[in-house]
């Protein structure tokens, strides 16, 4: 039971990042390599608003998200918009440049010490035979609600229909009066906001060091590749699945003995490779892009 809860905690974080990644890939057809850094921007600015300006937490989170959204918007205008229509691999390079610039700025502004967003003392609640802190429950529930809302918007609303139309045929969609460039902008910023939430998530649950940016981007990539690059639901499910695999691989005895914990992520990634061998488009992927 505890392992399941652990997987929920770790998976929610990966799901937040991966869903943003998947959304941008699904709609714009590009990969954003600066996502981990955007998560740091969200986490660290929130930390700053809470610890230095001593704002109440909800206000700080709103502020942190706003700054992340602005940073993402800036990133889109300068590092993505001019290039992504020419070739879809160009932004791969430009967003790496963006991530390095952000890395540098984060180091200069926030220095290097690990930081944690202070949310007061943790109360531990027993769930069956497991323990979870009240903050973790809030984090998990909010994440799932948030992701559910996002999926609902995409699938059920007129706005979502417009996005999907743009994906299927940008020119046709434009001719019907859908402003695809505006939609792209919005989608990109939403992915940054998701990353910002992910950063706040780690900041509250664990701690933030300026160098984790790239490492957390990789986690999200594992989820999106296993889930199918273009299926957001698949990506989200896989984020949780990978987290669960990581927990199960070392948390339970296999054939009488435990796998050394150093192999935690190796085991999970091996499983992904096996999945891809059997189903190259990912667990939930389809052969064409449909967002």
């Amino acid at each position: 039971m505890q392992l399941l809860l652990n997987a929920l905690i770790a998976g929610s974080f990966a799901a937040l990042l991966a869903s943003g990644l998947s959304l941008v890939y699904g709609v714009l057809g590009i990969f954003n390599m600066a996502l981990g850094q955007l998560a740091l921007v969200g986490g660290l600015t929130t930390w700053w608003l809470v610890s230095i300006l001593s704002l109440p937490l909800p206000l700080a989170i709103a502020g942190g998200i706003l700054i992340t959204a602005l940073t993402t918007w800036f990133g889109f205008e300068f590092f993505v918009a001019p290039y992504y229509r020419r070739h879809r691999f160009l932004p791969l390079v430009t967003t790496i440049a963006f991530s390095m610039i952000l890395d540098g700025l984060i180091l200069v502004i926030f220095h290097q010490e690990p930081k944690t967003i202070d949310v007061g003392t943790r109360t531990l609640l027993p769930v069956f035979d497991a323990l979870i802190s009240s903050q973790q429950i809030v984090l998990i529930v909010l994440t799932i609600l948030f992701l559910a809302l996002l999926t609902w918007v995409l699938v059920k609303t007129a706005f979502g229909r417009r996005i999907r139309a743009t994906v299927q045929h940008p020119t046709a969609a434009e001719s019907l009066g859908i402003r695809s460039s505006l939609l792209h902008r919005i989608v990109f910023i939403v992915s940054g906001v998701l990353a910002g939430f992910a950063g706040i998530y780690v900041g509250i649950d664990q701690n933030l060091t300026p160098t984790i940016g790239f490492a957390i981007t990789i986690k999200a990539y594992a989820a999106i590749i296993a889930g199918g690059k273009d299926s957001m639901k698949g990506t989200i499910l896989c984020a949780y699945l990978i987290a669960l695999l990581e927990q199960l691989s070392i948390g339970l005895p296999w054939f009488g003995s435990y796998i050394p914990s150093g192999y935690q992520s190796t085991v999970a990634l091996l499983v992904i490779i096996l999945v891809l061998l059997i189903k190259p488009q990912g667990l939930f992927g389809s052969k064409t892009r449909i967002a």
């Binding site: 770790a10 935690q264 992520s265």
Partner: protein, 372 residues
């Protein structure tokens, strides 16, 4: 084109100027970014103060000293390239550094080949003892920590030890030292290794919860990871005593892990005794210039002393083999951190260990453990 050419010649002229100014160059390597940054910042600032003191007093034999700092990110690969640069490009006389043990161990063969003396302020892995003739350190080896912990376990009547170690040279050094000196009747009931930088210990803690243990060793490479071990252990309701190593000896740890590290006992070097006039002076200079230390003032003091003893001997012996021999011959150098000399392996003699404890989020010294 003309403009570009004249600019180019200007750059050449300037660089020629740079080469002409006579300074004694010494290098610094340490983690200036990343999880272990607290140790890097403190030791670099300590070394800077030492260099400034010497320069203010006229330099070494009238020649100014220049400190070139490189970020080696607490890992061997970055340290190796930093050392290459310092030895082959900057042509430094000696290097203060390697803070993380991985850094010092990776720097050792390169420095050894270039006959450049390395003095590590705070690396503690037992392997450094035999890393090379040119490799010195002013920090007690972890080989001594196993013995100190063994004595502590016996005294506190702990017989079942749990340990989680990061897979780095420093942490593995501690781990093997603990295993080697385990007293009879005490056994290790949980022994897991994790990738460097791991922050998610929940699975391991879930397993640990079902195991009967008396004491947990937070064998992480940095305060950032030790914080997560402590937080996630306490989050599952385990109340056992925690013992840390030098990496838990950090003021930052108290701030980021809060009540989770309450009562945690880091086994490390002593606190800087500010009753001592020289130490109080140094601490004041440090605080005036750099604020509170990120880890401990003692680390800064060790880096300061390493730099001072190095510059003193450069003044007498110059560089290369002569400098190395001079350092082995040093008799009782009185620094800020203590009075010490080096043994035949370049290990320090005279800096003791100490057990500390987090009380109300602050580090308190509980006892000094002399080492032979």
């Amino acid at each position: 084109m003309k403009k570009a050419l004249s600019l180019l010649s200007l750059i050449f002229a300037l660089s020629a100027c740079g080469a002409k100014t006579e300074t004694i160059r010494i290098g610094y390597i340490g983690p200036l970014t990343g999880d272990a940054v607290s140790y890097g910042v403190d030791t670099l600032n300590g070394a800077k103060i030492a260099v400034d003191e010497v320069n203010a007093a006229g330099g070494v034999n009238g020649v100014k000293v220049e400190l070139i700092a490189e970020d080696s990110k607490c890992n061997g690969a970055d340290s190796a390239s930093a050392t290459q640069k310092l030895v082959n490009v900057d042509k430094v006389v000696a290097i203060i550094g390697g803070q993380c043990s991985s850094e010092t161990l990776a720097a050792a063969p390169i420095a050894e080949a270039g006959k450049v003396v390395v003095i590590s302020p705070i690396s503690s892995s037992p392997d450094i003892t035999t890393a090379g003739d040119y490799i010195f350190r002013v920090y007690p080896s972890d080989a001594l920590k196993g013995k100190a912990l063994a004595a502590y376990f016996l005294k506190a009547n702990f017989t079942k030890v749990a340990i989680i170690s990061e897979n780095t040279d420093f942490c593995q050094g501690i781990r093997s030292s603990v295993k080697k000196d385990l007293p009879p009747g005490v056994k290790i009931v949980f022994d897991e290794n994790v990738d460097p930088g791991t922050k998610d210990y929940r699975t391991l803690m879930t397993r640990l919860k079902d195991i009967d243990f008396d004491v947990f060793i937070t064998n992480g490479q940095s305060d950032a990871t030790v914080a997560e071990m402590a937080k996630q252990l306490r989050a599952l309701g385990m109340k056992q005593q925690m013992v840390g190593t030098d990496t838990a000896d950090s003021a930052t740890l108290g701030q980021i892990a809060k009540e989770a590290v309450e009562g945690l006992k880091p086994l490390s070097v002593p606190m800087l005794s500010e009753a001592d006039v020289a130490a109080a002076d140094f601490a004041k200079t440090f605080r005036d210039r750099h604020g509170e230390p990120k880890a401990t003032m003692f680390f800064a003091a060790l880096a300061h002393d390493a730099t001072r003893v190095l510059l003193q001997e450069i003044g007498k012996a110059g560089s290369g083999e002569a400098l190395k021999d001079a350092l082995y011959a040093v008799k009782d150098f009185t620094g800020i951190a203590g009075t010490f000399h080096f043994d035949a392996n370049g290990d320090v003699v005279g800096i003791p260990l100490a057990m500390k404890e987090f009380v109300n989020g602050m580090l308190r010294q509980s006892e000094i453990i002399p080492v032979e």
